[in-house]
Subunit: 228 residues, 2 copies
Amino acid sequence: MTLSAKEMLRQSLLNQMARGELIPGASLPSERSLAAEFQMSRNAVREVIQGLQQEGWIQVRQGGASRCLNRLQSHLEKHQPREISLAYQLDVMEARAFLEGETAYYCALRASDQELAALAKEYKAMQGRRKGQSTLLKAKADLTFHMMIAEASHHLLLISYSQLFYERYFNAIHEVLSTTLKRYGRYPDGISQQHEKIYHAIQSRQPDQARLEATEHILYTRRLLETS
Amino acid sequence: MTLSAKEMLRQSLLNQMARGELIPGASLPSERSLAAEFQMSRNAVREVIQGLQQEGWIQVRQGGASRCLNRLQSHLEKHQPREISLAYQLDVMEARAFLEGETAYYCALRASDQELAALAKEYKAMQGRRKGQSTLLKAKADLTFHMMIAEASHHLLLISYSQLFYERYFNAIHEVLSTTLKRYGRYPDGISQQHEKIYHAIQSRQPDQARLEATEHILYTRRLLETS
DNA sequence: CAGTCCTAACTGGTCTTACCAAATGAGGCA
DNA sequence: TGCCTCATTTGGTAAGACCAGTTAGGACTG
């Protein structure tokens, strides 16, 4: 069975999204470049693009590049309570412990050498500025570290979930860190130690170990949230 | 709010289908003629057409005209038993009594003068060849009469349902007529009398009366089925 | 006269080229 | 440093040509 040019382009884009090569929020190549790459007319490319848009995969707007959408967004919006209570946050953290473990697992398994190098660079930067930094920047660095792991997992579901989680609970995370900082005068040793363990498990490509450490890390922060 | 040309075309087609001007199975105008009529390029027309196709409104195939689809088809296929028992047929006929009544009602209300004239022509042809005809042709004529009423109702749901019903139960209808013919030597007077009443109620544009007669007609044939 | 076959005219599918309109980002300016 | 401007880039639309199936009508045959 030979696929038509349109079907090949469509499958190519869907595959890239499934493989996490085109993650939610990323820009698609322009219609003109896709037409050139797949040796087809811009008309045909446009019809494929519009099809994907109609199915909720991508968003297209005049003047700007088409962007991949996070398909979990509408689903989560429907199932989220209006008011985010502490109990709800604790529930979310419990689920997140599992998902973060899977994320670290697939990252250790699938990350490219290039991505591991980028992760190493980011990790060392985090270490270098560990002291004398605002909690806001600290929280942002924490987020970046976790998102890099998520993206390197090349797992569409995990990437989508991580994006939504960090976007939604960033303020809550920041709050927990601030409270902890005020209480103890500095961040608990646990966090940086756990980061180190996760980092090393990933760098040495030990998926199971990475899952273990990541899960424990989230459960630790969950306990912080519980007592804050 | 000014709609874009594409949105206008889309709404126009959807409206024509909702109004029963473009009934399931009917051909859409060609892309070129639509482009000329709405003063837009064929590209834009094609994108609208493809959108409607993706939503299951129409079917398009190279070389032939695009056709409206019967959107009840897939739904009914899912909810239909594998084996069509007599009890099931009787249930269907009960629902049909209501739907046929609505059909006659809207036909009397909405049919154009042209459609009434066509119905008159068909009815007289039926009268003229009432005798000495095979049950097969008789059943086909019966079907044509009812379908003309359904189409003149300009009610998408009623048209869709009628199409599927007659396509699906034509053999059963034929069977009932044959059995009745063999038993009594001729068709019972009821049927042609009822057809006449329906016909006159419609021609004189009496919706409520047409509904009454049509409902009674179906319940009459339902009793025939019950005792056959 | 009926039936069959074939062709011309449609239909949708694709490509090319050109231009318009909106977003973007780099460079210059305050 | 921050803001603003404008050329570039991106999607949106148009027009014309050609390809590839379908269809209907006319010619031909029995």
